[in-house]
């Protein structure tokens, strides 16, 4: 078992022949991900990285049976690419692109709600199921196989957490980068739900940051439904109010979306919250009863 992607996933790459798409598709293939082709409008019929290029996602699905896509399309066209994927029947749409206008995402998310699909991101590092499929831009070698699932708004902080988990003597099932934008496809709560339901995942790491209320909602859900230990960290305790900290969604708007408030709520809901980002791995090992 695993979550969202595994060795049987048939993956296509939207923005396949561009610089980012080419580099990361190559890395994904090297990792062993089952990349079956890609889409670049106008380049249909060509071959790229030994795989077929299609003009449309519809063609790619028809020819390859693809069920997962990863989107590297530039921000101006990314919302369109998301809607195209949903329309063509793709089940898991992973969007790496950073900088999509909010108005475009409001429309795209509303549009895809009519389809049986799940959007991950945008502005995220993607999803990796250790030793099976890397559908993202993360360095794969850090994610040694094990029983810990990770949900995170941040890229490098996910790598940091995975590395600490491995050094603490544990490993990873699936790591889900949900993205740092104000509007994202899969929320913290939804990603936690997926990992709670996965029999191979025995513990969960939830990494959030300032802005919005996704962590509070996930915490409330965990309090009622959680069956596995959850370790949490919120980045941005020291961030000033009203300033955007890199991620478009990382901005303190009021009293409830500060790191302090989120951590308080998470603790009240039984999550093992660490104040130091250096203690994520050791805390997970401690609650799992593993000696590093």
């Amino acid at each position: 078992m695993s979550v969202l992607v595994n060795k049987d996933s048939k993956i296509i790459v939207q923005g396949f022949t561009g610089g980012e798409g080419t580099f990361h598709a190559g890395q994904m293939i090297e990792y062993g991900s089952n990349v079956v082709g890609g889409v670049t409008p106008g380049k249909g019929g060509q071959t790229h990285l030994d795989r077929p290029v299609f003009n449309t996602v519809e063609d790619a699905v028809k020819e390859t049976g693809a069920d997962v896509t990863i989107i590297f399309v530039p921000p101006a066209f990314a919302a369109d690419a998301i809607m195209e994927a949903a329309n063509a029947g793709i089940k898991v749409i992973i969007t790496i692109t950073e900088g999509i206008p909010v108005a475009d995402m409001i429309r795209a998310k509303d549009y895809i709600s009519a389809f049986d699909c799940r959007l991950i991101g945008p502005n995220c590092p993607g999803v990796i199921t250790a030793d099976e499929a890397k559908v993202g831009i993360m360095p794969g070698f850090i994610f040694k196989k094990g029983n810990i699932g990770i949900v995170s708004k941040s890229g490098t902080l996910t790598y940091e957490a995975a590395d600490q988990v491995v050094k603490a003597g544990l490993g990873i099932t699936t790591a889900i980068g949900i993205g740092g934008d104000p509007i994202i496809g899969t929320t913290t709560k939804e990603a936690v739900e997926l990992l709670m339901a996965d029999p191979d995942t025995h513990g969960i790491i939830m990494i959030g940051e300032i802005g919005g209320n996704l962590e509070a909602k996930a915490a409330a859900w965990i309090k009622e439904n959680g069956t596995k230990p959850v370790v949490g960290f919120i980045a941005g305790e020291t961030a000033p109010k009203g300033r955007t900290m890199g991620h478009a969604g990382a901005i303190v708007g009021g009293e409830d979306d500060t790191a302090e408030a989120k951590k308080r709520i998470m603790r009240e809901c039984g999550i093992h919250v660490v104040d130091s980002p250096a203690e994520i791995g050791t805390k997970m090992a401690e609650v799992m009863g593993v000696n590093a």
């Binding site: 490098t156 902080l157 590395d163 980045a235 941005g236 300033r243 250096a278």
Partner: protein, 403 residues
Amino acid sequence: MNLHEYQGKSILESFGVAIQRGVVVDNAEEAVAKAKELSANTGTEWFVVKAQIHAGGRGKGIVTETQSNGVVLAKGIDHVEEKVKGILGGHLVTAQTNEQGKKVNKVLIAEDVYYPGESEPSEFYMSVLLDRESEQNIIMYSTEGGMDIETVAEETPHLIFKEAVDPRVGLQGFQARRIAFNLGLSGQAFKQMTKFVYALYSAYEGCDASMFEINPVLKTSDDKIIAVDSKVTLDDNALFRHKDYAAMRDVTEEDPTEVEAGEAGLNYVNLDGNVGCMVNGAGLAMATMDIIKLSGGNPANFLDVGGTADAERVEKAFRIILKDPNVKAILVNIFGGIVRCDRVAQGIVDAYKNMGEIPVPIIVRLQGTNAEEAKKLIDESGLNVHSAVLLQEAADLVSKVLK
């Protein structure tokens, strides 16, 4: 991107939103002639002179040099020049600025819209923004106009109303009517308010705004509905399709170091601590700031160098961090994945040598691909650089150098 009041109003007007009209001047000499033109177009005899800065609380704010308020009334054309001189070129200190205040480079001379008439003028509050929870835009409004909305939310929350807009169908007629009714309007003023709300929302969508705040929206004594002030923030990510709005950016309103960093492709936010930091990735950068605090320091900045950390970029980042005289140490925290740590380490060594002596201790934490080789490279460089692999080691080194 934040706009000045006069810029926001020009966008609103282009979408058919009724505004308090005015003229912008950047020198006192042309103020009277421009004010006369405004009189000719609007019939106004009194004028409101408003400082154009990116900060709220201008009306109660004080210009350091003259003790004038940031928004003043000129009761007649003869007073315009004097009032403009009291504001223009001075430093306006408000509740939202620091104690140095903000230099006023432009003033807006606006028509007086509080003239007497058939009915009493009344002020409302209206804003448009994204509600992250419902993932819809909402129009937030209140009968309590002209006041700080946070105070209203605290003291009389029942006087704040919200109207959510379904992205599929847009703002509907019944919603605009509900807003006008809830604001207690009837007759001509009611009709004008529904038109105002429609135009305002279409402006919000049309210019890809991320926030509109109109405070106050005024019902005049002859039942017109107009925007007397405008606070407009545009979605930076959508500026690629609004070149004309992008050109409205006023960099003099921004922190000069942040502007310089932005031009170099670095995401930098200036803070007031004593430990600078340079990190790849926004989440890890925030986490690094937090660990600086836990180590007994305070972060002097947020800085995301992005995916590449070559010598040129690292040098630029060092130079930007070191512009802040409060910086007593710098923590570099790079999690190398696709980027190899030894390459980053070489970049740091090259940048360091290129800059000559760096006056503060540097702690470099490189983790990920080739982390051990990177540590060796730094340890053998002979430079005043402390190296670490684990995040906790880096934190301990910060504590150590601050002692």
